[in-house]
């Protein structure tokens, strides 16, 4: 049990520490693909350090909610990263929250972010909050439906059980999972504010969503939010791996499996990051009112996945 808790802490800490690296890797890939010289892989860490050193400049009318939000968002994301199995499965923390609770955690972080964006009362903040909620109201149920499809196959919403079923049982082709995988990819681009839904590097007011919400943040607050963004990308990637490529995650207490799990995770994340960068380079950002169509498609695909499961696989 104690080793389980230590492992849980270790796995969470690893996610927290490695998340900026994944961000750096995606940025580097994007630079390579567009024929630019890539920044160092450690660039995100340097940015975090720089931001932590800076003073916080608070708007005069900012309320306590505004100051609480970055910490709350960061805490939600750390917790989410702790729940998703990355290296070892069935760690002691996983019974506390299942896939649905994970969606709830993401929703909580989002709500804090949107409320904080409205707190100062500038035009951009509210605009960003409104757009974020527009993206979320379709992305969240779509994500839930993806989890539902997986849960129906695994007969459980507990992530360890899902991973266990997908990784260790007889390999079978589930058509419903194919729908779910496509939907999951679409949702994760939206939720992580990536192209084609949002552009993480833009500050053009007509198009920005996530950046508009954090315009008023500075110093350590901004650092925590940026870190949470990196963690979210890491968590989503880990989720995608856990749901669709779960091979290599070691069962709890299975020490010999650990080195292999670390290597597999690094490889899968590197591959996923590269594909993300590739798709971002090939696509353009879409108009805001095309986003509901895009996410509506994701939602329908996920529901179709569930229907397919009900009709063909039971």
């Amino acid at each position: 049990m104690e080793s389980g808790i230590a492992l849980q802490l270790g796995q969470t800490l690893l996610a927290v520490l490695a998340a900026p690296l994944l961000m750096g890797w995606v940025n580097a890939c994007r630079a390579w693909l567009s024929n630019r010289r890539a920044p160092s892989l450690l660039m995100p860490y340097r940015q975090l350090r720089r931001l932590f050193h800076k003073d916080v400049v608070l708007a005069n009318q900012a309320s306590p909610l505004f100051r609480l939000a970055p910490y709350a968002i960061f805490a939600c994301m750390v917790l989410a990263a702790g729940i998703v199995p990355t290296l070892m499965n069935d760690l002691p923390f996983s019974p506390a929250a299942d896939a649905i609770a994970l969606v709830g955690l993401f929703a909580m972080a989002r709500m804090f972010q949107a409320l904080a964006a409205m707190d100062v009362g500038t035009a951009f903040g509210t605009l960003g909050a409104r757009r974020e909620m527009l993206v979320a109201f379709l992305a969240e149920p779509a994500l839930l439906m993806v989890f539902f499809t997986a849960s129906l196959i695994a007969r459980s919403t507990a992530l360890p059980t899902i991973v266990d079923v997908f990784a260790h049982q007889q390999f079978a082709i589930y058509p419903s999972l194919a729908f779910a995988a496509v939907a999951f990819w679409m949702v994760s681009t939206a939720e992580n504010a990536r192209i084609p839904v949002d552009n993480p590097t833009t500050h053009l007011e007509l198009t920005m969503i996530h950046e508009a919400m954090i315009l008023e943040y500075s110093g350590r607050h901004l650092a925590l939010i940026e870190w949470a963004v990196a963690l979210k990308l890491f968590t989503y990637s880990a989720l995608g791996i856990a749901l669709f490529l779960p091979w290599g995650i070691a069962p709890v207490g299975h020490w010999p499996g650990l080195p292999l799990a670390v290597v597999m995770l690094a490889l899968k994340l590197a591959l996923g990051g590269f594909v993300l960068a590739l798709l971002e380079t090939l696509n353009a950002k879409m108009r805001l009112f095309r986003v509901p169509e895009f996410l509506g498609t994701a939602f329908l695909l996920a529901v179709l996945g569930m229907l397919v499961h009900f009709l063909l696989e039971t």
Binding site: F52, D55, V57, L58, A59, N60, Q61, S63, L65, Y71, A72, F74, A75, V78, L79, F93, P95, A96, A97, I100, A101, G104, L105, A107, R110, M111, L115, V120, G121, T122, A123, F124, T126, A129, R130, M133, L134, F137, P141, L144, M145, F148, S151, L152, S156, T157, A158, T161, L215, E216, R220, L224, P292, F299, M306, L307, H309, F310, L311, T314
Partner: protein, 662 residues
Amino acid sequence: MAPTAPALSLQLTWGCLLAWLALGALQLFTGLRQLYAASALVALFLGGISLTTLDGPPQTMILPLGLPGLPFHLRLDALSALFLTVQGLAAFGVSVYAMGYFRSLDSATARTTGLWYNLFLTGMALVVLADDAYVFMVAWEMMALASYFLVTTDHAVDEIRRAGFLYLLMAHVGAVALLLAFGVIQGGQGAYTFDVMRAATPTPSWAAVAFLLAVFGFGAKAGLVPVHVWLPEAHPAAPSPVSALMSGVMLKTAIYGLLRITLDLLPAQPAWWGTLLILLGLVSALYGVIFAAVQSDIKRLLAWSSIENIGIIVTGLGLALIFRAEDKAALAALALTAALYHVLNHALMKGLLFVGTGSVLHATGTRLMGGLGGLMRAMPWTATLMLIGVFAIAGLPPLNGFASEWLLLQAFLFTPGLTQPYLNMIIPVAAAAVALAAALAAYVMVKLYGVTFLGQPRSPELQRAHEAGWPERFGMLWLAAGCIVLGLAPSAALTLIAPASRFLLGASLPVGAGLFLTPIDPERASYAPGILLAVIVIVLLLAAFGVRLLYHGRVRRAAAWDCGYPEQDARMQDTAEGFGQPIRHVFESFMKVEREVPDPFDRRPRYRGATLDRLWLLLYAPLARVVAWLSEQAARVQQGRIQWYLFYSFATLTFLLFFVSR
């Protein structure tokens, strides 16, 4: 389950009802608002008694009241005890709040309001205690009439009188349906006690007729689409504590009635009943939340949100009926528990949101979000407590709204293996609709909270808005604490619900260990809100102190970044209409939108946008026209001349003589 002779709890409960009546009479003569504290204590006592009787055997009592040969039958069983608990807990908080809130009424209004308020509480409690159709209908009418008079407290306003009329009309159309439903169930035996009805065995088709009548009648009270139209009119018209009671408690009596008739009085429930309820529930949930997103009046928004939540509850009931028809008692218990849990949660969180809105209304004089903003600074208590309510109703862990929605979604995941093939098509879509409604609820709540409490004040007077008084704060605190406790200790809620579930279905959900919510078995799913909260708080504190320790905690204050446009003011923030615009854009086909866009050169621009319920135009307006036409035709008979009336009498007599002589 033979009724037992000593019925102390029931006698005490009856005593509570009498106490409320006495308090109502006292209010009528004195109009003292301190008496609301006494009403609150009675409510607390009532809640306490029903808590102790949850698990006990049913208690019955016959009162020598009513018509000769038709006495009042009362009964306190697990189901009524659960709903009485809900009423007691919510009514306590709301009544304490009311003590502070009603301070600005003039003395005549204060007296009558006090009377109706207590009568309303009595009526709602009597509805769930009734053990025959006669008491039930009397209590039902008492509740409807008292709430009608409360809705029209401000009867000088035209709009409020109209809202009240619509409410009264819908309440009575619904009541007629209920009367017919009871008539059908007792099947001509001439006795209207529920015991007789339980023993009756109506044919499946008559049972279906009774069920449909009950769904219509109770649906009209609960606000199921398409008989929801009174709700967004009446809730905003009423004073805020009354809106809180109506939305939090009164709507639940309709859920109670539906449960009582469907699962207790009628012998068998075919699967299509469940399907019908699921469809009605989902339509209500989605319709309600979409319209909530485009409202700019806070109370109207909350009223639409109530329609959504009732939809979610009814969906849970429908799922329970389907599982019951399939003889899966444990799963039926899961779905029913989810629905009843949501009943409990919604009573507290919607009560909290309505009374919080009341404080805003009191402090600022408006409930239109367009005139509010930045209230977090002037009203920190109200704002903080409302934040809890908003998080709870948006379905965020670890608060209570999430727990019940989590259970409902779990129930959906157990549906494979149902024998009816058409259900396999409906269930995934239904689960998706519930998820969509829950996500939209978060949108609505961000809009409500962000526009009202955050940002810059949209008018300078708002900076001087006064904070709610102490009774109000205590009332809100009580309801908010309820939201937190029910969220963190789901096993407490399950303990409350289990007896009612056993009573209705013969099965209940295992309560499980303190922190964990594990519906069927931990391999399938588990959820521990307490642990989630603990970890979030620990990480939050670690991050806050860690950053200060490793780096620094310096803060500079400065003006907000204006993006280089120097003249920014509070009007440039997003308005309520603006925040709802994307939803209106996406779901425009459901609504009829009316807009008045100002001229760009207008010095004092006024924008008006109204979103009308298309169902009103499609369903009610033609119906009203038909009724008006029919009454016009009937009016032709009324010539107003004596010779015509004599002729009618003569014709009638001849007609009757013709029959008699045959």
